[in-house]
Each structure stands twice: as structure tokens, then as C-alpha cells.
Symmetry: D2
Subunit: 334 residues, 4 copies
């Protein structure tokens, strides 16, 4: 870590600051230039509160040389992580997977039928919401434990491992049979939930918060990995911007940026990123072309509501078309 002092800092102020650093167990290395003085800090600077330091009246700027995330850092793990998702399905390090299923689990018939359909099209994992985070308390909140049971039945029938979202630290036991535990965008900084998952060995699918930077996403990963759980998959699912035509703005550049910064796999959720079913296919193709390790897509299956083209969900035949095009792109780039 480097601290650059403002012009005009007195010798006494500089010495006070150096003493303060040394009390924290850091060595200081002062370089006095014509225009500014630079203090280099050697030792474990992760304890230094950079916000506090930056706010000092004598500080021009502070720069951490090393990133504050260690476990997720590509620098220390040059090889891609390969994450086990159950039943032999892997993601990362060249292993690509399509994850598909309905927004909410509604009934045995619904989930089994969709599972068979998306498996036939090429999906490797089944997703479905049992616990639903809804902006309004008056909206349907999911089937809870029963929803997980129904997903497990669909797994038994199809052999597909299942992905579903956890919202409450107290539900970890209920999620024991779930293959991949999803932490949603709204909980990306629910640190107690992340810590609790870090104490398990469950594979965690961590979604980027809708207003969180890529660096913050990596710091949230760190909460899980610092507990000893290295089975983490990241998911870009759109960020909040001023544009209102799409529900969120898919930050497609997050895919190569995350691949540069971390060895963990990165998937994309074009359904939530755009909120418009017509945009799911082109965004899935863009994700494949940008190097995503997987794509998660909402698929519904309701012959009764045929007039509905399904908000952000695809119909099964639309999902099949996406699978084919994504495969073509992946083939072309081999």
C-alpha cells in the first residue's frame, strides 16, 4: 500500500502518521520527492482502513497495490476452477452448462414436464424457485420446502442436478439436498448468509447485486471462500442503469473482466438481465461468444396461457432454438 502526502505536510504530521502505521505492525518506507512525499507500507495492510486513511487532511491519495480479495484472485490460482454441480455436471475450465427451468416451482406435473423438456433440448441443470424474493409482500412467495421436494422429484426422473435460491440463513438445513444453492442479487451483500454458506461445502451460485461493482462481487465471494468453501460460481444478471427499455442492463463485459480477475467460473442470466423474452436469445448468444461458462434461462410451460409470451420466460421450443444457436457459437470458437 502506498500513501501520497499532500504538499505542505509538516515533518511532525508525517512522523505522527508513520508512528500510527508502525503501531499497526507495518513497516514504512518514506520517499521524499520535489513535489510530494510517498509512504510505502510493508506488511499485512489488509487491516488498514483505506477510507479512514483517504480522509486524513494530509493525504493526497492512497493506493492498494494488492487487491483485497485473496481466495478468488486469479493471480494466486492461474488455472480455471472446475466446480462440481452434482450428478457429474461440472462448470468451468472448459465445462459449459445450460441451466433452465421455470421462475417458480408450481406443481409436480409442471416441474417434471419442464425438466424433461429442457433436458431434451440440452440443459444440464434444472432451476426453479421455491423461496421467491418479491418486491411486494402481496406477491406469491413460493412453495418453500414443498418446492424443493418437487425439484428433487424432477431430479429423480431426469437425473438433472438442481439449482434453487436461498434467502434465509436458517434454511441451510432445508437446502441440504440441493445441488447448487443460489444467492440472489438482493442478498449479494447479506454477509451473514454468505458466511454461513462458507462453513458448508455446498456449491454456491452467487449473483451480482443490481448495483454492485465487479470488485464488490469478488469481495462477497471472499466471504464464502474465507470460510473454507471454494465451490463458487459467479453470475452476471444485469445491473441497474438509467435505461428503462430493458429491466436491467446486461453488463456483458463482466464476463471477460471476471475471467481476468478470478479463476472461478462465470455464467450469465439473460432472462433477468433483460426482462424481455424476445431478448433472451440474442443475449444468450452474446454471452456464449464472450466466453461465459454457462447460461441460465427461465423456461415456462403453460399450454393454458398460450396467449402469454411469458414475460422473461421462454417457451420450450424457444429454449431449444437458443440451445442450438449457443452450441453453434461454441463449436465455431473451439
Amino acid at each position: 500500500m502506498i500513501a501520497i502526502l499532500k504538499a505542505g505536510t509538516s515533518e511532525e504530521q508525517k512522523n505522527n502518521l508513520c508512528n500510527w502505521f508502525e503501531k499497526m505492525g507495518l513497516k514504512t518506507h518514506v520517499s521524499v520527492g520535489d513535489y510530494q512525499t510517498i509512504i510505502g507500507l510493508i506488511g499485512d495492510t489488509s487491516k488498514v482502513d483505506i477510507g479512514l486513511l483517504e480522509s486524513m487532511s494530509i493525504i493526497e491519495t492512497v493506493k492498494r497495490i494488492s487487491e483485497p480479495y485473496k481466495n478468488a484472485n486469479r493471480k494466486f490460482h492461474t488455472e480455471d476452477a472446475v466446480i462440481d454441480c452434482g450428478n457429474g455436471v461440472k462448470i468451468g475450465g472448459g465445462n459449459f452448462a445450460l441451466i433452465a427451468g421455470p421462475c417458480s416451482v408450481e406443481s409436480r406435473e409442471q416441474i417434471v414436464e419442464i425438466a424433461k423438456s429442457v433436458k431434451a433440448s440440452g440443459a444440464a441443470l434444472l432451476r426453479g424457485g421455491a423461496y421467491k424474493p418479491r418486491t411486494s409482500p402481496y406477491d406469491f412467495q413460493g412453495l418453500h420446502e414443498q418446492g424443493i421436494d418437487l425439484l428433487l422429484e424432477a431430479k429423480k426422473v431426469t437425473g438433472m442436478p438442481i439449482v434453487t435460491e436461498i434467502m434465509n440463513v436458517n434454511d441451510i438445513d432445508v437446502f441440504e439436498p440441493v445441488d447448487v444453492v443460489q444467492v440472489g442479487a438482493r442478498n449479494m451483500q447479506n454477509f451473514d448468509l454468505l458466511k454461513a454458506l462458507g462453513r458448508t461445502k455446498k456449491t454456491v451460485l452467487l449473483k451480482r447485486g443490481l448495483a454492485n461493482t465487479i470488485k464488490e462481487l469478488l469481495m462477497s465471494v471472499e466471504y464464502i471462500m474465507a470460510g473454507g468453501n471454494e465451490n463458487v460460481i459467479l453470475c452476471e444478471r444485469g445491473i441497474r442503469t438509467f435505461e428503462t427499455y430493458t429491466r436491467n442492463t446486461l453488463d456483458i463485459s463482466a464476463v471477460p473482466v471476471l475471467h481476468e480477475l478470478t479463476h472461478l467460473p462465470v455464467i450469465v442470466d439473460p432472462s433477468h438481465a433483460t426482462g424481455i423474452s424476445r431478448m433472451v436469445e440474442p443475449m444468450a448468444m452474446a454471452a456464449a461468444a464472450a466466453g461465459a461458462d454457462g447460461i441460465m434461462i427461465e423456461v415456462h410451460n403453460d399450454p393454458e396461457h398460450a396467449l402469454c409470451d411469458g414475460a422473461q420466460s421462454l417457451r420450450p421450443e424457444q429454449f431449444e432454438s437458443v440451445c442450438k444457436k449457443v452450441n453453434k457459437i461454441r463449436e465455431a470458437l473451439k
Copy 2:
């Protein structure tokens, strides 16, 4: 709720849609114009998933006439709510309060000294972090239960009710003696936590999420109030924008907007909104002028670290200056 159909929608499609609404228990009222057809929906439309409806291929646009938040809605509660904060302190309906204290509770001496000091300057409530949400797992996470005990000691000495942040639904019992339970920006959509607080009678200080709209803030309030707890205070604490000079951007217009939409009191946190101690005074003054019902300010007290001007925290004498100026503005506007 009104749904406007696209030009070219067939009679059959329109009838299918109307049948679908009627199955949900709604009455429909169709008005066929030269250029478009409008379906008015009568009944409890809170069950209608507006996102699903908007995505249908035959729908031009959908408009909810009534807001989906009921309990927090000014329309149904024309008088300002007055929220009891303990020890006779009230916020709202003309009752204004300054809330002050350190970022984190560190020791008995620290918190008691700051409490005495801010009380002398005019603060009515004492704030201090016991459970700290930190972006990095390697940063100080707070003193937890011990922090709450120290806040209670400061309360005993000064008589000031205390405000501190809860992060975990399992800590509700620990927060039993806390006067005002704060839900932080990162947990604004931690719905399980909101529901749990809704089942208590604790006064809740709910902070706006850093990328959440005003309407979403009101829907989160609804999670608390729907459970039967009407003791909620809202807090604007800055939103995330492209501007990087300040840590966040204080959305000062949220104060009059919230006063228009809800009867609940609205306070402002200029410390977190700007992240720069020099900006706290002018922003506190702006908040008072815009009609805030309270202002929450970080104050620290460390003679040893005198070289530090305290990130976003004020020194006690700076806080005293803020109090005086805020009072002058409030006097002027009486």
C-alpha cells in the same frame, strides 16, 4: 388497473385475455376506440403480475391506477405518523431529532464520552454500530452483543435511546433492549428480516438501498407494516450514481417525495451519503431546509488520532456547529 391492447389484436385474443382476468376473480370493462382497445380491471388487482401482463404480445401497455403499497400510503393516512423512539423521544409530525454517534462502538469509555458530548450539543438519540456490514470479510465486524451492552450503558448514563443496526434475523432477541433497530441499505430487500421485524413492535429505521427506487423503499416498508408493525422511520442515505467524487449521491429530493407519498417520517444520513466529513454540514443543512424529520450523523472522538479528520465522521466540535446551524434553519422556517 388498465391494460391497453395493441392495434391488430384479434377478437379471440381479446376474449382469451378477458377470460384469464375473470378466472382471477376480476371484472373487466372493455372500451373499444378507433385506435386502441382498453380493458379496465375492477377488483383486487394486487394479484395480477404486471410484469407477466406487460410481456404479452398483444399488450401495448399496462397501468396500475392504485399504488401497490397500502399501509405506508399517505392517501389512506393523511396525518403524519409520530414514531416513538423510547425515553420520550419522538420523530415525525413536527418532532425533529438529531441522531449521532460513532461508526462502531469500540469501548465503554469511547461510547459514553461521545454520548455525553453529542447530547450536550443537542442530539436526541445515540447511534453506534455493534454488528457492522463490511464489504471485506477481513475488516472489523463489530463487537456484537458486547457492543449493544456498551450502548445500553451509555443510555443509562445519558438517558438517550439507542439506534443500532441488525443484520441477521436470528439476532432479533439480542436487539430486544434496543430502542430503534436499524435495517441497513444492503438489507433493504432482505425480505425475511423485514418480515421478522414486522412481527415485533420495535421501532425500525429502514435505510434506502443504494440502488433502490423510492417506490421499492415503500414496498419494503410494506413488508414490515403488513406484519402489523407500524413503527417505521425511513432514511435517505445516498444512492449509487456515476459520480465518484462523493461516495454516493445524496438524493435530497427523496425527502419531499417521500413526504408526499407516505405519512411516515423521513430522516437523512449525510455521513454515508457523501463519505466526506467536510460535506456533512452543508448536506445536514440542506436536509433540514428540505423538511427532513431528523438527521443522523457520525461523530467520533479520538484525541489520539488527531491527525485524522475522520473519513465521514465529524469531531464533536464540528457536530456542535452542525447542530447550531440546523437549529437556525428550523427556527427560520417555523
Copy 3:
């Protein structure tokens, strides 16, 4: 256009409003429901100031049924436009083009050499800045007329039509020999410049402003097309968000959204969107996969500055790699 009145609007207020509309030459069609009153407006509502209307105390909401852009609207032009870029190069309607060249034109040798190189790799158009919009007045502002002359020399040598940016309405004559006149992001709402270009027949490449919505981009197109010039190509080049890792955030979903809303071709500029040369290749591939009609890439050529990996510019061999991968994706999707 539809205006929905607030509950409680008096008969007199409603009549006043209807009279006001009728004075503007509009016919009104009032539909009184149980919960609200709807006024449908028939006639040329493009004169109605929607902002003014929305602000009236008796108005609940206002909805334009028809989009305010006409000339660029896909509804009235179901076939893709094919835009002529000079020397037989076309963009749109299945015609795809790579546009490449340096940030700034610096010398004859530089621009001719880069032109030959990018042509050999597969670029169809040559770009290069002659007039440079720079945030700082102290930065290099370009070679101006001389820059255009050098681009024309490179065109003579290679046969590639040229693209370069105009900043000033008074330079239109100087741009007479330029094949494609670029309007940059900062000038997307420089309406006088757009109007002046609308009076010419020049092909215009209009970049999205860094904080402009897709709808605003289409309204700016309308300024050009309303003057009679239909030769417009749109360009997504990244928008400003809270994320700071990349210079801007590439809004890749703008490609299919624009293809849905307008018949005009849409290209992507991954160099400006990310500001990081390492991200140009994956973003170009994503753009091709999402259906872009062209991609514009900065390529530099400076053996002397070999230690530099070129900010957002690619080296010629990197550009060649991008061309090959983009072609593979386009082949795969045929």
C-alpha cells in the same frame, strides 16, 4: 394519446381540459369508469407537450400510444434499411462491415500503413479522427482539414471509404469528400448539427450519447431524417453507469432492441465501450453474436511504442484475430 384523470376530478375541470385539447385541434373521446375517467385524444398529438400534461393536478397518467419517432420507426418500414457507405460498401439488411483505424490521424505514413493492414485483415471502412473531442482543452485536438486530406490519401491507396467525426456545424463543407460522417456521443443532442446533416445526403454514423436512452437516440435520428436524409447508421458505444472497471458499460441489449424498434442498421464500438484493449475481442464477438450490422474498432500501429499495449486500441495482429473470430461467429449463425 390517452390521459387518465385522477379520482375526484370535477366535471368542470374535465370540461376545461377537453376544451383545451379541442383548441389544439384534437378530438376527445371520454370514457367514464367506476374508478377513473379516460380521455382518448384523436388527431395530431405530436403537438401536445406530454410533460406539461403530466404535471397537471388532475392528471393521473398520460400515455402516448404511438411512438413520437416516425421516420426511423420499424412499424412503418418493415424491411431493413441498406445504407450506402461509398465505394460499394453497404451496411444493413445482411451487409456486415468492420470499420477500423487509429484514434487520431497523425501522419500520411501512419494512416496509409494502418489502412493497408486493416484492409488485409478484412476491414471494409477506414476510421480515423481528424477533429477530436477531448475532455481537456490541453489535449491534442487533431489535425483538422489536414487529417481529412490524409484519410483521403489512404482511401486513394486502399479504396476504403472513410469515416471521421464532425464536431462543428460550420465544418460541413470540409466533410464533403468524407464518405461517412460520424456524430460522436457528446454531440448526440447537438440538435443544430443534426438538423444541418439532415439537409445533406451524407451517410451519418450517429453514436449513442453516454447517458442517453435508446428512445432518445431514435429521437435524435428523427432530427436527421425529418430533414430528408435517410442515410443513418446507429452505433452503441457504451453507457455511463456506476461500474468503474471498464470506462463505460457496453449495453449489448441495445442491438436487438434497436433492431426491433427501427429498420436502420446498428453497429457496436467495443473500443470506446470498454476502454480496455483486452476486452475488445470478446466484446466484438458478443456484438457479432447479438446481431450487430458492423463493428468499429480502434487499431494503432506504432512499432516504436512497443511497450504499450495500446489503451483501447488493438495492434494489427490483434485486429486480425478479432476479424477471424467475428467471421467464424457470423458463419456459424448463417
Copy 4:
């Protein structure tokens, strides 16, 4: 300027870089630490392209020690600038002014009547649009020269200096009799217009672009001041964020931030910042409390359209209320 090299940079690469700097006429000062190497640059570093430098593969980070804006920099001008606005009206350095008038100049009667009214309430300057930047080419674009003539008539009657917006570099002569020439948000980076105004001595009111940072605003000021024109007033008028309830988000913290960074006066436009007339009064009060040097407010005057509460414009009696409250706040803070 300081460049920090990545760990692992070879001696040869470091020397190449130093030679490159020295060719630019800079002196280098290398400090080799245990963990990184720092190169300090001495001389006129304004020529160094920081983006290029940051992109080099051997560079960890680059930091300009001195801000790139000189003329507008508070460091070199510790005293507040006092800007002459004509007819004895001054803004800055303790001189506060209210600027009021209609969105557009419509007729002699309209503008003279409003001018008299706002003067009586306490406005010092008259504003009114003659050239109007409109998102749609089909919206009213203003009366142009005739609008300026009408403003001058209102000036003759009331003695109030006038403020009106310029959009085209070719109109500078037409603006000769205008006291304060406004550059609107959309033209904040229309550099040719800024340069042209820099060659005059006109007082310029420069509005912040809706997606421009405070630093970019200061760099645009620099375009004007570098030409020799020091008569610049800055205006915060709301930025574009994800919040949609208000048209823009008033960045009230820009007032104290700009006062810290520059000696130029800073005014606030609450009408455009919120787009809602009901929010103008509380936002004007907040601006006064935050230390603004002036407030610019839209006031309309149309007895015929009495049913309209005027979008973002205030009625004369509402403006009078704002004036009184703003004065009370300013009195209180003396």
C-alpha cells in the same frame, strides 16, 4: 505525476519507459521499493496521455498529483470570483441572485408581465428560452432572434439583465446584447461552442451535463477560461440516475464540492433537476442552505391554463413563497 510499475517489470522495460518520458521533455525520478517501483515525473505532464499510460502492460497505476484544470482551480484563486451579470447584478463572493422566468418566451405581453411579477417577488435576473433544445424535432423550438428581442424589451421595462440559452456557435453575434449566455446541459461538451465563448467576454452560465462528473464540468469551464474569458457561473441542474420518480436527481452535494474545487460561483436549477413543480420549493430551500450563490427557477403566467399546475414551472404566487423562504434561510445563516 506518478506511475507505479507492476511487480515483475524488467529493467529494460523500465528504461524504455523512462526514455519515452524523457523524449517528452520530462524528468524522471525512480524509487525502487521491495514490492514495487515508482516513477515520479517532473515537468509539464499535461501532455502525457494518462489513458495511454494506464493501458501499458507494465503499469500498475498512474496518478496525476495536480488537477488538470488550472484556471478554474480554487488552489490558485483562493478568493471567490464575483461575476458581473449586467445592470449592477453580481453573483458570487456573497452576492446571491434569484433568476426567474418562463421556459419559453412566447409573446411581449407574456414576458413583460412575468418579468414584472418575478422582479416584485425578488428575482434579480430574467430567464427565458428563445432557442430551445428539444428531444423531439416536432416540438416547439423557440422564437429565436425574436425571442431575444422580447427579452430585451422586458429588460427595458424592468431593468433586469437577461439570461438565455445559446445552442449554435453561429449565433454568438445574435447573443451580443444578452447579459448572461447560458450553455445547456446537452452542450456542456460542445467544445467548439465553449471555445467560441472563451474568445468573448460574455458572462457564461454553464450547466452540468446530465451524465457528466463534477471534474468534467470543470474541464469544460477550462475550455472557456483558457480562451481568456473568466466570467463563468456554474449550474447544477440534476443528473441522470436510475430513479424515475423525479426527472433527474438533484446532486445537492455538488454545491459544496464545487465551492471546494473552484472559486467560481455555483447556482442550482431545481426546476429542471426535479421536473415537478411541487418539489421546486423544498429543493430551492435546500440549495440555499447548502450555500448556492443563486437559484434559477421557471415561472409561468397563464391565467387561461389555470387548470395546469405547470409541469416544472411555478405560478407567480408560488415563486413569491419560494423567495420568502429562501431569504429566511439566508438570513438565518448570516
